[in-house]
Amino acid sequence: MRFEISSQPIDPAELRRTLENIRAGACVTFEGWVRDFNEGRTVLRLAYEAFDTLAVKEGERILEEAKRDFDIFDICCVHRSGVLELGDLAVWVGVSAQHRGAAFDACRYVIDEVKTRVPIWKKEFYEDGDSGWINAGAG
């Protein structure tokens, strides 16, 4: 079980290997990719900023909840920080389990919770030169 904020590129093949277990029949992974378009605007790149200590603490809590609530063997999540280009891997979640239902449910639980609870912020840089922090409406 491992939650990490990484300033370096994520290697999904290497992370997947950490989940291998001959008692496991299923492995589900989620990858979040940087895409070129969001809410009607053309995106050129992103920057992620994290409150590292609390992000790891809250991320580990989410993984513990998943281990407690779903019948899984192992679970891992790595989230990028820093500047990312189009197509880059922003977040990776992987789960191994005896059966696929629990693996799907736990994987989805983790990414849903990470997106709403872990203190990470995303700034988008647009084609028109503008930029902005996502969700940080003027209030």
């Binding site: 409150f51 603490k57 809250e58 990470i120 922090w133 969700n135």
Partner: protein, 81 residues
């Protein structure tokens, strides 16, 4: 009584404060009062209702009692993934 609080800023708050961290001498009893003061100083656009608070690297309520040397972070709406 004045206490010394370490404040760290992230994302839009960091940009609006013009700094990633500052040390504040304050009489604020709790993070709610502290944000009010800092909002006036830096012109933060976010309402308290849009923020969460961390004290000493864990989530805390707005009315948590602040002690000398505490570290405080105001957490804008997150957007991971």
């Amino acid at each position: 009584m004045k206490k010394t609080i370490q404040v760290q800023y992230f994302a839009i708050l960091r940009e609006q404060a013009g700094t990633a961290a500052e040390t504040v001498q304050t009489e604020a009893e709790n993070p709610g009062e502290l944000y009010q003061t800092l909002r006036e100083r830096h012109g933060f656009t976010l309402e308290p209702a849009q923020l969460k608070v961390a004290v000493n690297d864990d989530f805390a309520p707005w009315d948590a009692v602040l002690a000398d040397s505490d570290r405080v972070v105001f957490i804008p709406p997150v957007a991971g993934g």
